[in-house]
């Protein structure tokens, strides 16, 4: 097999520490502690390796990346190396001076999460008092510093009916882009699935709201829309295909093909301490396991869409079938598809259970 093209982007998860406790957090259930985090010098070396191998963009994420005191230094280092940098943040720890310092260090863009348009519900979902109000302030500081803003709104049965207001909020905050992302069910979100899955009617209403808003707000707000897999007909091309465009580095330096990949217990991940990043990308077992089409089951391998959706999501295949090498049951051709659809309708039709909040030890 020839060497794969280099990745376009790296998601740098600087920490798993976070003041919020969103029950759909994309971090693994086993959160890494502060003591295992990579130090500044190691991150700088890894950023250099990334730029050298052809990575173009770095997304600083977490956890909450702003808990790291060296964030400005890492942004400056990335910028110096020619990487385009993006901050994915909950915002609540930022002040105006820090945003200005990040902009001065070369930060190009901020993606700020909101849990709802309604303060009380947003703060209940995030498990952080006063968070929603602070985020509004942060959005204004970001725009004042001249940085473009994306509002990220994870949506589900407990806020989906506010979608019109969420869109108006993004416009009022002068965001360029709004990401309306239905919860994806791995890790914490899988534990809380019944609390989040919308009904089909709720989903259809939301999809119509997005379509109308896109038309109405053309040129004012770009809306990206991530649909929930359980009601989909075709699976999503997760990460644009395993090991094709993207890699993820955990706070402790494990290199993953996607942020949820640790939910697949059979995979072994190399770390940036052991091997150069380019070598991990090209050769590590975890990247090779599902790269391309050779690994696919016959249903996928013989499918005309095999290089469109790349067999869907490996983590979802594992979560729903127990085998990560199966066809993603989000695909209507999967024999399990109808069962997943029925499960979604059943859970969405029952009263939502209480949240299991995302915190260290919280899943026990």
């Amino acid at each position: 097999m020839s060497a794969p093209d280099p990745p376009l982007a790296v998601l740098a998860e600087l920490t798993h520490r976070c003041p919020l406790q969103c029950p759909y957090c994309s971090n693994p259930v086993d959160l890494e502690r502060a003591s295992s985090e990579l130090d500044t010098a190691t991150w700088c070396r890894v950023l250099d390796e990334a730029a050298e191998m052809g990575v173009l963009q770095v997304h600083f994420s977490g956890g909450e990346p702003t808990v790291r005191k060296d964030l400005e230094e890492l942004v400056r280092h990335a910028t110096r190396g020619g990487l385009y940098s993006n901050l994915i943040t909950a915002g609540v720890l930022l002040d105006e001076a820090r945003i200005e310092a990040l902009a001065a260090a070369g930060l190009e863009h901020v993606q700020l999460s909101f849990q709802d348009s309604e303060a009380a519900n947003a703060n209940r979902i995030g498990g952080f008092r006063g968070g929603h109000q602070k985020k509004h302030q942060v959005a204004r500081w970001v725009r004042k510093a001249g940085l473009p803003l994306t509002v990220n709104a994870v949506v589900h049965r407990q806020n989906l009916d506010h979608l019109e207001d969420i869109i108006e909020m993004a416009v009022a905050l002068d965001a360029e882009r709004l990401e309306v992302a239905h919860v994806q069910y791995y890790g914490w979100a899988l534990k809380n699935r019944a609390a989040f899955l919308p009904t089909r009617a709720q989903l259809d209403a939301a999809t119509a709201v997005v379509a109308a808003a896109r038309e109405r707000l053309k040129g004012t707000l770009v809306i990206d829309y991530v649909v929930p897999d359980y009601y989909a007909r075709w699976p999503k091309a997760c990460m644009g295909g395993w090991g094709r465009h993207f890699l993820n580095i955990t706070p402790a330096g494990k290199v993953l093909p996607c942020h949820a990949a640790e939910s697949i217990p059979s995979l072994r991940f190399d770390t940036v301490a052991e091997r150069p990043l380019a070598e991990i990308w090209a050769q590590s077992e975890a990247f090779q396991r599902f790269r391309g089409t050779d690994w696919m089951p016959e249903l996928c391998h013989s499918c005309a869409r095999r290089e469109i959706d790349w067999g869907g999501c490996r983590c979802q295949a594992f979560a729903l079938t127990g085998d990560a090498a199966n066809t993603d049951p989000a695909c209507q051709l999967s024999s399990l598809h109808e069962g997943v659809y029925a499960l979604a309708e059943r859970e969405a039709g029952a009263p939502p259970p209480a949240f299991t909040y995302r915190r260290i030890g919280g899943a026990a």
Partner: protein, 95 residues
């Protein structure tokens, strides 16, 4: 993006600070870096975007392209305006 940027012949298009046209040495092609996006412009888009300096009007860009590529002006005008409007609607071009 408080209000929609409408591309007219008199508009002076430019890339905002956070949108960067760069030559990608590893892949030997031009790319446009934007928030959470990497765009690979086709040959025509590249020629247009290279001319989005804030110092030339859309009319001047069209004129220049018509001369450089020896192509009918009307056709270029409609292609260029459509392309720039599309980029403006995504926030990748401002005036």
């Amino acid at each position: 993006m408080n209000r929609r940027v409408v591309i007219e012949l008199t508009s002076m298009p430019r890339l905002p600070r956070h949108v960067k046209l760069r030559f990608d040495k590893q892949r030997n092609r031009w790319i446009i870096l934007a928030p959470e996006r990497v765009l690979v412009p086709d040959e025509i888009a590249l020629e247009v975007v290279k001319r989005c300096t804030g110092k030339a009007s859309v009319a001047a860009v069209v004129e220049d392209l018509a001369a450089s590529f020896d192509a009918p002006r009307e056709e270029i005008e409609s292609d260029v305006t459509r392309l720039l409007q599309d980029l403006a609607d995504k926030g990748f071009v401002v005036t």
